[in-house]
Each structure stands twice: as C-alpha cells, then as structure tokens.
Symmetry: C2
Subunit: 112 residues, 2 copies
C-alpha cells in the first residue's frame, strides 16, 4: 500500500485531513490529542488517520498504549512530484523561477 499516488491525492481531498496535517506539522500527537482539536468523534478521526497513513502522509509509532502520529513527507513528495510536471505550463515569471530552482538543485548536488 506504499507510495500510491491515488491514495495520497484522495487523502488530501478532505479538509479535516488537511487540517490534521497542519496540526501534526506543529507537533506529533496521539489520536486523543488530535480529536480534541475537532468537533468529531475519535472513531471518525481514526478513519481519517487510516486514510492519511495509506497515503503516506503520516506515520505512527507505538508507545505503550499510546500511538503517536507524526507527519510523513513521502506522500507530500509524491504529490509535488506529480504537480511538478505542470511547472512548464505556468507563466513566464514562474518559468524563470523554475529555471533558478533547477540551477540551484545542480549546485546542491555538486556540494553533496
């Protein structure tokens, strides 16, 4: 179920799930802590977390009886990779920016 572009896009298509990601970007959280931030049952949040996990947008580690959810960038990378195909169709100004990025990427590669 790893790195499925469809799962990643589906996961981002719900506003609650996008908000969860924003919260997790601030700090990793248990499902109880996440649920506190929403007007929704824990069971509902759990389903959202499952969907986020299947989109490689979060990862979960077990600590005793708690499960700690944290942001996982792999899914975000999948999405931006897909989107990057369209960069060539953006406006001139952005095209310039993209060229600059590409050049800088080369520089960075040389450094490492």
């Amino acid at each position: 179920m790893n790195l499925n572009i469809q799962h990643s896009f589906k996961a981002l298509a719900d506003p609650t799930r996008r908000q969860i990601l924003v919260h997790l970007s601030q700090q990793e959280m248990t499902i109880a802590e996440i649920t506190d931030q929403f007007d929704m049952t824990r069971a509902a949040i759990k389903k959202h977390l499952n969907i986020l996990e299947s989109g490689s947008l979060i990862s979960v580690k077990t600590n005793g009886r708690e499960r700690i959810n944290s942001l996982e960038t792999e899914g975000l990378r999948t999405i931006t990779d897909w989107l990057s195909y369209f960069d060539q169709f953006w406006d001139k100004k952005l095209s310039l920016l993209q060229t600059a990025i590409t050049n800088n990427e080369n520089d960075i590669n040389k450094e490492s």
Copy 2:
C-alpha cells in the same frame, strides 16, 4: 466559486481528472476529443470537466458550437501554495533548495 482550495483538491482526487489535465497540457481539446481518450461516455467526461473547472484547473472558451477546454494553472497554484507550507518539514537538502527559491523570488520581484 473562484479559487476554492477545497474544489481544487477534490478535483485532483480522481485519476480520470488527473489524466484529463495531462492530455490538456499537450493541447487544448473539445469534450469530444477528450472523450476519445477514455472508455467512458461524454456525459461522464462532462461531469469531470465541470469539477475541474470549479477547481480552476481548466478554463473553457466557446467557439461556435464547440467548447475548447484548456489547462488553467490557477488551481494548480492554489494546491502548490498550500503544499509549500510543508516545505519546511522536508529534509535538509530540500530546505536549502527552498531557501534558494525564496532568494530567487526576491530577485525576480526586484526586476519587475
């Protein structure tokens, strides 16, 4: 209905709609031409086009009895803007890249 982030994310959540965007990136097309590329009725494609339009991912211009659909980058920009918030959580290498982008953005703004 303009520039609704939710509509843009929803629109990208369907694989057929993402494929339509890829086709439109090659050339603008009528609904008939798009339909030829898929194993699906024109009515179904029309619904997808409506959803893409409401996500500002395509725009439509009328030419006689034809409607020409073409890629509209505004929705893509909305998505990448949202995603860019998470750039700070990616790995070091990418962080460096982001800094480079920001610097170049400033340069470009100075120029214009």
